[in-house]
């Protein structure tokens, strides 16, 4: 199955600001009681979006002006905490196609890349410019250009960074590594002779 070459993603953005937004906040553990990822999208950021009685709290994802946004904008250390892939799955299933933040927690970054969600990093100042543009006009079209390592919006252009291996995987359509990993199995089998514990 050929994977899409994700060279750029465009759409409207929504700022979910703050640092250290952890994966428990992105998808509370009780929604992980499932044997499939189907339907996780509706629970993204659930406890900060909704009160115990289900009524909406004040949260950007609840604002009419940000409905339909497909680019998530956040702060530093986004996705810290648990390794749950349920977090990027919920983000993707909600409708997000890319994330722009200052930086990311390691496991979250890898999980997202494997799902084909580009996670690009921008400086705080540049994120502030982007947020200002989106807040003043939520219809602002944002282009996350993974190949060119820049984000364009409202006539502005900001540089972004993304780990080389992730950029390569996204733009060349090999972000899901399973095909390549399977090709390596003949070599994997030779390790049984080198590493005794594999035979235990």
């Amino acid at each position: 199955m050929a994977l899409a070459k994700i060279t750029q993603v465009s759409g409207r953005g929504v700022p979910v600001l703050g640092n250290d937004i952890d994966t428990d906040r992105i998808i509370p553990a009780r929604f992980m009681k499932c044997v499939s990822f189907d339907g996780l999208g509706e629970f993204v950021f659930f406890d900060v979006r909704k009160n115990a009685d289900g009524s909406p709290k004040e949260h950007p994802l609840n604002e009419a002006r940000y409905q339909g946004a497909s680019i998530l904008i956040s702060g530093a250390n986004f996705g810290c905490g648990s390794s749950r892939e349920h977090a990027p799955q919920a983000i993707q299933k909600y409708g997000f196609r890319a994330i722009i933040a200052e930086n990311y927690a390691e496991i979250f970054f890898g999980n997202s890349t494997t799902l084909g969600i580009p996670c690009v990093s921008a400086s705080r100042e540049d994120i502030q410019k982007l947020v200002a543009a989106v807040q003043s006009n939520p219809q602002t079209e944002i282009v996350v250009d993974v190949a060119a390592k820049e984000v364009r919006f409202a006539g502005q252009k900001i540089p972004v960074t993304i780990r080389d291996s992730a950029r390569d995987a996204l733009i060349n359509g090999r972000w899901d590594a399973i095909g390549e990993l399977l090709e390596g199995i003949p070599v994997v089998k030779t390790f049984t002779a080198k590493l005794p514990y594999l035979s235990a």
Binding site: D22, D24, F37, A76, S83, A105, I107, R163, E180, L198
Partner: protein, 506 residues
């Protein structure tokens, strides 16, 4: 961002911490040291490298794969979709921990979703030929307790598990990664995964810990100093006199929380303590194979003079009994300190994060943490749910009682820990003191089972995360601390200095 070469013990100012706060994910550079001396990380990485992938990542062999019911069912589903098998079922081990109720085991469970996850794991293990440490085996427990207990966790190996606290296994000198579900599929199907190298930070703790200061305090202190994302891009190698003296269970407590400091991997070099722990475990090598294995394990330890990308030094004497007051594990203070004041923050970020935490915790700046009333005391989890955790607390709680109104849970991390405690009469000591003595599981660490906070209850917890809503109530509040501090809080009814409650000589 370049970190300072060393961070002295006094360099704990918010400013120093703030400068460590941001490590750019994009800035990964493998160390290409050409000298002969190598770190354990480099040696294990090299011995498990299958090949380079087109995007520059490494196809890394994962020798041991641990799975549990929460993150694996979708991975087995993907295998079925792709018509793939498990490549090395004999190197894949399963247990059930997150969703099991700790007070009743008769199936079906009251929660049909939990039962569905249990059924899925049982079915997947049977279908794909994976060993399942089910409750009937007597070996069930929290995955990060079961692996070491069975001798599955060994030095010089690579381990992966769909759980961020997989770093625990680094206590044995293994390189152990927490992974997502798609990667679980990759490891099931190919016994490998795609990953880039990490830098290595050596963390030295020299000197002698003061009485009443535990491994939990050591790691909370490290995270407080280096920040929740100070370790992004790094493997943490822990060493120095304090680690040399630690038991395996203490090393596991520290390595367990590496991820809370942003480090995906944490490890301690294997030594005689490691070998003694592993001798005669069910999956440990036997006879001549044991001697050969030990020789290999000795050789895999970091060489003297090897290169580290960064070195941080701590003095054991500077580490106090530590308690978190906020909503991430770095928001921690000594039990005698006051809750921080946003007005004294040295950066915009620090001010915002203190304000956010104070608002959520409903705490006042500058108030002492000591004396904060608690509703629940939780002793257990992959961080502090091992025999020695209960043994240590049992020494002090005899003749004492949990304060009225406090719900105190003691939850052994595995069926074997429970059995050991029962043999030693430790379970009865806890019951006599007013604790509910439960059966093995993750329990209140993450609230995927009936053990949950209610409303805005405050929990004194020996677990690893104090995120908003972590213990099951969207407004619940968690204070992380060592097991003895949890016991002290349970007995006092409020956060207390265990050294005072139990007359530990300071």
């Amino acid at each position: 961002m370049q970190l300072p070469a060393t961070i002295g013990p006094l360099d704990m100012s918010p400013a120093a911490t703030a400068t460590l706060a941001h490590v750019d994910n994009a800035n990964f550079r493998p160390n290409l040291d050409i000298s002969m001396a190598k770190s354990l990380f480099e040696k294990v990485w090299e011995s498990h490298t299958v090949r380079k992938l087109a995007n520059g990542q490494t196809q890394l062999l994962i020798g041991t794969h641990l799975i549990h019911e929460v993150t694996s069912p979708q991975a087995f589903g993907m295998l079925r979709d792709l018509k793939l098998k498990v490549l090395m079922p004999h190197r894949t081990f399963a247990t059930v921990d997150h969703i099991v109720p700790t007070d009743q085991f008769a199936e079906p469970y009251a929660d049909p979703l939990a039962q569905a996850m249990m059924d899925a794991l049982r079915k997947n293990c049977a279908e794909f030929g994976v060993t399942f440490f089910d409750r009937a085996s007597g070996k069930q427990g929290v995955v990060h307790i079961v692996g070491p207990e069975q001798g599955i966790t060994q030095p010089g190996t690579t381990i992966a598990c769909g759980d961020s606290h997989t770093s625990t296994h680094g206590a044995f000198g293994a390189i152990a990664f927490g992974i997502g579900t798609t990667q679980i599929r990759d490891v099931l199907a190919t016994q490998t995964m795609a990953i880039g190298p990490l830098k290595v930070r050596r963390i030295n703790v020299n000197g002698k810990l003061r009485p009443g200061v535990y491994a939990k305090d050591v790691i909370l202190h490290i995270i407080r100093t280096l920040g929740v994302n100070g370790g992004t891009g790094y493997a943490y190698e822990y060493g120095g006199e304090v680690f040399d003296r630690m038991t395996m269970e203490e090393r596991m407590t520290v390595c367990n929380m590496s991820i809370e400091g942003g480090a995906r991997v944490g490890y301690v070099n294997p030594d005689e303590t490691t070998f003694a722990y592993l001798k005669d475990r069910p999956y440990s090598p036997k006879g001549a194979a044991w001697d050969a294995a030990v020789a290999g394990w000795k050789a895999v330890a970091s060489d003297p003079g090897c290169h580290y990308d960064n070195v941080v030094d701590f003095r054991a004497e500077d580490i106090p009994p530590t308690v978190t007051w906020g909503i991430n594990p770095a928001q921690a203070i000594a039990v005698g300190e006051n809750i921080p004041d946003p007005a004294k923050a040295t950066s915009v970020d620090e001010k915002a994060s203190i304000e956010e935490a104070l608002a959520y915790m409903k705490f006042k700046a500058n108030a002492p943490i000591k004396g904060t009333k608690i509703d629940v005391a939780f002793l257990g989890s992959c961080t502090n749910g091992r025999l020695s955790d209960f043994q240590e607390v049992a020494k002090y709680i005899k003749g004492k009682r949990v304060a009225p109104g406090v719900k105190a849970l003691a939850v052994p991390g595995s069926q074997i820990v429970a059995l050991q405690c029962a043999k030693l009469g430790i379970d009865q000591v806890f019951r006599d003191a007013g604790f509910e003595w439960r059966e093995a599981g993750c329990s209140m660490c993450l609230a995927m089972n009936p053990d949950k906070l209610v409303g805005d209850q405050i929990s004194a917890s020996s677990s690893n995360r104090n995120f908003k809503g972590r213990q099951g109530s969207p407004t619940g509040r968690t204070l992380l601390m060592s097991p003895l501090m949890v016991a002290a809080a349970a007995i006092a009814g409020s956060v207390a200095d265990a050294r005072e409650v139990f007359a530990v000589a300071k």
